[in-house]
């Protein structure tokens, strides 16, 4: 099972992304982004299930919301993916 993390620039942006995704029918959970994933220190992220990634990305684009980073996690390993 894999999932994606949309790393936000702020808690408020993460909350906004979460709500927009929920409105698109995508279940989300919010979390503090793992320290190793960011080069700027404390960040928040929105987690979604892997199979919903394409829909989620389109949904965020429609809402003009751009994550700071996007990571794909598979078998416990994170890999950054393009916007």
């Amino acid at each position: 099972m894999d999932d994606y993390l949309f790393v936000a620039r702020s808690i408020t942006q993460a909350q906004r992304m979460s709500r927009v995704l929920e409105q698109c029918g995508i279940r989300t959970s919010m979390l503090r982004a793992p320290v190793g994933l960011t080069d700027r220190g404390c960040s928040y992220a929105v987690r979604i299930r892997g199979e919903q990634f394409d829909t989620a990305r389109q949904c965020l684009r429609t809402a003009a919301l751009q994550p700071f980073h996007i990571f794909h996690r598979e078998e416990g390993v994170y890999r950054e993916v393009g916007q």
Partner: protein, 378 residues
Amino acid sequence: MIYLDSAATTLQKPEAVRRAMARAAGTMSSPGRGSYPASHLAEETAYRCRSEAAELFDVPSPEQVVFTFNATHGLNIAIKTLVRPGSRVVISGYEHNAVTRPLHGISNVEILVADAPLFHPEKTLSGFAEALALGADVAICSHVSNVFGCVQPVEQIARLCRSHGVPLIVDASQSAGVLPVELKQWDAAFVAMPGHKGLYGPQGTGLLLCNHQAISLLEGGTGSASLQQEMPDFLPDQLEAGTHNMPGIAGLLEGLRFVRRTGLYTIAGHEKNMAAYAARRLEKLPGVNVFADKEFQNQTGVLSFTVNGRDCEEIGEALAQNGIAVRSGLQCAPLAHRTAGTLETGTVRVSPSAFTTKGQVDHFAVVLERMIRENVGF
């Protein structure tokens, strides 16, 4: 006590405000600082408050709603962002010290005052038009005078500013909660407002609606981008250093909900009716000068008056001794008094809230009448 000083602070709050504050004090920590429920609850409350404000004030995104300590704090951020030493700034003749003092504190600022007689919005507008035509860097306008309740034609002023490419700062201290305040529609750079007046939140809360890059007055922790030593360059974090006032924000959220549920026009109509009724009563009293627009057309529920031969502070004292709370003096707005011609005397200001009753206004008028006719209490 009969409280008629809501233009300073609405004292009677919806019960939900008090409950929310008490709940927050016991259940919320700081938003954006942890993965545990107390932090999540604070995050959710802060976000809901931003969202509620964004919907009420036509703000495109909750991120553009910044928590401040009060309107003065927001105005300081806005002014110190846009006004530079040597800038030329156009202001209305009814600005509060929250605008004029920060301007005074910046060196060599040239201030053009678009003054106009009371309750003549068309003259205010032409004053702004003339001043903007001279070339200005920034325009600042209070939506409603805190002394006289006169409504300034902000929508038209905003249009003028857009046509001249001049950023506009609006002080919505007296209009938020009673008149439409529309950041996007006006395309204002900033709109500042307190939480503790017409939004029925607690003291120590305020909102700055941002449509422009801003500079931070405070630097410190934000729970974001912690590795970098510069403040984050994104809102709201950029302007919200340090721990949030969560009891205040929780209370403000309930205040905003009260305003939206009750309706701006319902609240404004009630306050205006109360002030107009007070004006009618006061106008009948000997020696009383009431500053009211014809049928309260360009006026909110804020009313000033003077009594011939009486010091306004003495009137305020005497009313207080009779259990009536009003605001006397210059109301921190000497410019407004200078414009209206009351700088030497000051005024007594009466400002009802959504909770003021006609019976309370009656009682106030009866007490004042007795004081004047019998010359008691002075």
